[in-house]
Every structure is written in structure tokens, then in C-alpha cells.
């Protein structure tokens, strides 16, 4: 029990410190703009008066440390200020675009898990044989295609070869939830494919390792069938050790969705991010960046905690 508390406390401190650093990086990135931030945002055509007005509005005339503290305290309340380009609160813009990015990421994650586990199990049965080599080679190739190029290839395939024209459409979740989901599936699939290769590779290696372990051999000598050993021992063990990898994959998926949204013309966070970049809307940009990074920090923290909760070896390794 002592171990458990000590581990959780250590992880919590690490989590809070990382979150603080991430917030500082985000803030700093937009404060070290060469020259005058307000001037950069408004462009060269703005008058001196407009620039001065924006400076006061953004609080740029105050000292840096004070600006950081006030930015952080309002960010913690979910207030990232007001977008310059859309003249709406940043938090509202983010939450209106969130369903697409989040929905796509979750569907992609489900696809990754559903596909990579059975394939890894099949391959780990006979490593080095034909099925294993074929699937591993396929994984390599999938990993090498940039997700946006893969999306375009699949769009060409679907529209030209199968004659499905529904690609690139979008329905709001409040209007037609079924259609909303169905238009996210192909993009999610495109993000998921390279990640399947990554998860598959890790799972395959860990399953091969567990198949050769003592407890697998003992179970075999007790008369369990290979299939039962796989279901009862090898898959649960690999699943626990793959939690960290899956959290990495999920953060990669979120990063990947920023680009793939662009190919499928979906109104998600990626589109918002690009709009913010091209319009030099720094309050909106820092809001999105901080939000995405914070989600990743929370994700890593949760995966660490879950892994330690299920597998006592992880929390004992730290303290011993």
C-alpha cells in the first residue's frame, strides 16, 4: 500500500510539473515573437493607433511574468480569451470543433486495437513463417505512407473504382449522428493504418516474448490448449504492457488528425488551427495548442496510473 501511494504521489507531481511546463512553453512560444506581437498580428497596413489599442487589449504593455500568471489563471478556468479572427471566445470555438477531432481519434483508436491484436496473435504463433512475414512487410509499407497521401489514394480508390461519391461530405452531429459517424470512418481509417503497423509491431514482439515464458510453458504442461493460453495469459499480459504504447499512439492519432482533416475537408481542430495560423490569430492559436498538449499530458498520466494499477511490477520497479 505504501508503494502505491508513493508511486501515485510521485506521478502526480510529475504530471503537475509537466502540465506547468507545457503551459509555460505555449505561453513563451507566443511571447518571443520577434518584434511587436500586435504589429505582427495586424500586419503592416495597420495604423499606430490600432496597434496600440490591440496592445492594451492583449495586455502586452504589462510585464511578462504578470502576463503569464494572468494567462494561466484564466486558462485554468477554461478562458483563453477572445479570438481576433472570429471574434468569439476561444473556448467556444474549440468546443464547437472538438466533436470531429475527438470522434475521429476515438474511431481510429478502436480500429487500431481491433485490428492489431488479432493480427499480432496470429503472427506470434509462428514467428518467421509466411503469414508473419507477409503481415510484417505489409506493416512496414503502411508505416511508410504519409497519412494525407494515403487518404488521397483511398479517396481515389473509393470514388473511381468503387464509385462511392459520399467521400468528403460532412453532417453535424446534432443534425444526423449516424451520418456524422459514417463520414468520420474513412478519415479515421487513414490515420489508423500507420498506427496499426506500430501497435502491431510492438504487440507481436511482446506476445512472442510471453509465449516463450515460464508461465506459458507451465500452462501448456497443465494441458491448456494453445488458444486458451493465448486468451488467458498472453493477451492480458501484452495488453498491460501495451498501455503505454497505446497512449503514445493516441497522441500521435490526435496529431495526425490535424492534417487528415484537411484532406477530407472536415471542420475539426486542425482546420481551426490552420485558420488561426494563416490569420495570425495568436490568442486562438495558443488556446488550441495548450488544449491539445494538456490533453496529451493528462492522457500520459492516466495511462501511467492505469498501467501501475493493473500491473504491480511497474510501481514496485520505481520504488525498489
Amino acid at each position: 500500500m505504501g508503494n502505491r501511494v508513493k508511486f501515485a504521489a510521485g506521478k502526480l507531481c510529475e504530471f503537475l510539473l509537466t502540465a506547468l511546463l507545457v503551459s509555460f512553453f505555449t505561453f513563451a512560444a507566443f511571447s518571443i515573437i520577434p518584434g511587436d506581437a500586435a504589429r505582427v498580428m495586424l500586419g503592416t497596413t495597420a495604423t499606430e493607433e490600432q496597434v496600440e489599442h490591440l496592445r492594451t487589449e492583449l495586455g502586452l504593455n504589462e510585464p511578462l511574468a504578470q502576463r503569464y500568471v494572468s494567462w494561466l489563471t484564466s486558462a485554468m478556468r477554461g478562458d483563453f480569451g477572445k479570438s481576433l479572427a472570429f471574434s468569439e471566445p476561444v473556448s467556444e470555438l474549440i468546443s464547437s470543433r472538438l466533436p470531429v477531432t475527438l470522434g475521429m481519434s476515438l474511431i481510429a483508436l478502436i480500429i487500431v486495437i481491433v485490428v492489431s491484436f488479432p493480427f499480432a496473435a496470429v503472427c506470434s504463433r509462428r514467428p518467421g513463417k509466411f503469414t508473419d512475414r507477409a503481415l510484417s512487410a505489409a506493416g512496414h509499407i503502411l508505416f511508410a505512407i504519409p497519412p494525407f497521401a494515403l487518404s488521397m489514394m483511398l479517396i481515389i480508390l473509393f470514388t473511381r473504382v468503387f464509385g462511392i461519391v459520399a467521400v468528403g461530405q460532412y453532417a453535424r452531429p446534432s443534425d444526423d449522428f449516424g451520418k456524422f459517424l459514417s463520414c468520420l470512418i474513412l478519415p479515421a481509417f487513414c490515420i489508423a493504418l500507420p498506427k496499426i503497423a506500430m501497435t502491431f509491431k510492438f504487440l507481436r514482439a511482446s506476445m512472442i516474448e510471453y509465449s516463450a515464458s515460464d508461465f506459458a510453458r507451465t500452462s501448456k504442461s497443465h494441458g491448456l490448449t494453445d488458444f486458451m493460453i493465448l486468451i488467458k495469459h498472453i493477451i492480458p499480459n501484452s495488453a498491460v504492457s501495451s498501455i503505454t504504447v497505446i497512449s503514445l499512439v493516441l497522441s500521435d492519432i490526435m496529431g495526425g488528425s490535424l492534417i487528415v482533416e484537411q484532406v477530407f475537408n472536415l471542420p475539426g481542430l486542425g482546420r481551426l488551427l490552420l485558420a488561426a495560423i494563416s490569420r495570425r490569430d495568436f490568442p486562438l492559436l495558443s488556446g488550441i495548442v495548450f488544449y491539445l498538449a494538456l490533453m496529451t499530458v493528462v492522457l500520459y498520466f492516466m495511462s501511467d496510473m492505469i498501467a501501475a494499477l493493473i500491473d504491480p511490477r511497474i510501481r514496485d520497479r520505481r520504488t525498489s
Binding site: 511546463l21 512496414h140 508505416f143 504519409p146 494525407f148 492559436l285
Partner: protein
């Protein structure tokens, strides 16, 4: 199928793919059949033919010439970006592993925070703030990739620190920098090499993504990512605009993966 034969097969496949890309790069440096931005109103969206091997785009530009010329930026950004990341990662990783304690804690938490920005987000921020240019892309991606190398060096150094020859050098008061350079760096070569090669491949994926978003290599220079995003509106009528740039990117990345697989398997085979 023994390990040596598999590993040799990886080497052959990897070298073939990289050879093709390298040929593109070298030819592109000295000669392209058409100018990369020469438009030809009479030859818009032509399918691949004898005059235009890879076809032409919506402005009548020759895709083959553009593919030849774009190879240099893919190679440049991947190598320069990895070089930046390697320098940063080596210094941070060695310092963290060698000094341990509070230095280690600080470096690790910094590199963890950098890794918390998913995918190309950090590089996008850098480009948004400093403006899109080749150099900004290179250092931004280098910064994003540095923690990967730092981790490899850190764990490798921690492992080496318990070995007798390192302990002895420490007892003999060999200065830390010399000890790292003479004893630690060469011993970690086998671990860092596959990471560097995979880093080149991942860097290419990131660079093409940024160019696709219009935030990477800037026109008038040709880049594969930008070619793909330009071609997006025409992809169903002119799939060759998508297929050829993608193929070269895939050849390069896949070739690198095969070589890193070769390094990994041959090192493992050698130590057993």
C-alpha cells in the same frame, strides 16, 4: 530462414529503394527535362506519356521535372533536421545519463514536456510565430525530434556507467567530456544508428505533412507535400499527380526503414 539471410534481404531492398531516390536527387540537381515552374497551356493535366513521363498538372507543369527537383528538399530537411536533433539530443542525453540526479530530472522533464505536443503541433507553432521558411522548418523539427535521441543516449549512458572501464576512467579522473567522447559515444553507436535512420524516415513524414499544409518548403521551390496539396482538387481526374510524388516519398521512407531493420538485425546477430 536464418537471421543473416533475412538481414541481407533487408539491406538489398533498402539499398535498391534508396538508390532510386538518390538517383532522382542527383539527376534533379543537374538536369530536369522541363523547368519546374514552366507552364504549358497546351498540355494541362496530361496523362503520363513519352513527352511527360509522369504527366502534367493543372498548370501544364511537368510532374517528372518537379519530382526530380523536389527530392533535394526532402533529403535536405530530413538530414539537416536529424542533425539538429542529434546534436541537441546527444548533449542532453549524455548529460542526463552521466550526471544523473537533479540534472537528469530537469532534462527528462523538459524533454517529456516537448514530447507532450502531439505530432507536428510544436513545429506548426514555430512556423506560425517565425514565419514559414526552410530554416525554421529544420530547426523546429529538430527540436521536436531531439527528445527521442536524448532518451536513447540517456538509457545507454546509465547502463554504461556501471561498467568497470567507465568506473576506472572516473577513478583516474578523466574529464567528463573526454570520457563521454572516448568511451560512451562509440559504445552507443549501435543503439543510436537505427534511431537516426528511423528519425530520417519520420522527419520526412513530418516535413511532407508540413509542406502539404503549406507551412513547409515554400514555392517557387517544388516539394512533394506541396505537389500533393496542389493536386488535391484534381485527384480523381488526374491520379498520376498523387501517385508519383507519393511513390517517391514511400520509396525513401521504406528504404530507410529497411536499412534500419538491417542494422538492427545484423547487430543482434553479431552479438549472439
Amino acid at each position: 530462414m536464418n537471421l543473416a539471410r533475412i538481414s541481407k534481404r533487408y539491406l538489398i531492398m533498402g539499398m535498391t529503394l534508396l538508390g532510386i531516390v538518390l538517383a532522382f536527387f542527383l539527376i534533379g540537381l543537374i538536369w530536369t527535362p522541363y523547368g519546374i515552374n514552366d507552364t504549358d497551356a497546351a498540355a494541362k493535366l496530361l496523362a503520363p506519356c513519352a513527352d511527360h513521363l509522369f504527366g502534367t498538372d493543372n498548370m501544364g507543369r511537368d510532374v517528372f521535372s518537379r519530382c526530380l527537383a523536389a527530392a533535394r528538399y526532402t533529403l535536405l530537411v530530413s538530414f539537416a533536421g536529424v542533425a539538429v536533433a542529434l546534436v541537441l539530443g546527444t548533449v542532453a542525453g549524455l548529460a542526463a545519463g552521466y550526471f544523473g540526479g537533479i540534472t537528469d530530472k530537469i532534462i527528462m522533464i523538459l524533454s517529456n514536456s516537448v514530447m507532450c505536443f502531439p505530432g507536428i503541433l510544436l513545429a506548426l507553432v514555430a512556423v506560425a510565430v517565425f514565419g514559414p521558411s526552410l530554416y525554421n522548418v529544420i530547426w523546429a523539427l529538430g527540436l521536436v525530434f531531439a527528445p527521442t535521441f536524448a532518451r536513447v543516449y540517456r538509457s545507454g549512458t546509465i547502463e554504461l556507467m556501471t561498467r568497470d572501464f567507465i568506473l576506472q576512467s572516473k577513478v583516474m579522473k578523466v574529464p567528463p567530456v573526454r570520457l563521454m567522447y572516448v568511451h560512451i559515444l562509440p559504445n552507443l553507436m549501435a543503439q543510436i544508428l537505427p534511431a537516426v535512420i528511423t528519425g530520417l524516415a519520420n522527419m520526412t513524414l513530418f516535413e511532407s505533412g508540413m509542406s502539404y499544409l503549406g507551412l513547409g518548403v515554400q514555392p517557387p521551390a517544388a516539394s512533394y507535400g506541396k505537389m500533393l496539396s496542389d493536386a488535391q482538387s484534381y485527384m480523381t481526374v488526374a491520379p498520376w499527380l498523387i501517385i508519383f510524388p507519393t511513390l517517391i516519398l514511400v520509396f525513401y521512407i521504406l528504404g530507410l526503414y529497411f536499412i534500419s531493420e538491417w542494422v538492427r538485425t545484423s547487430v543482434r546477430g553479431g552479438s549472439q
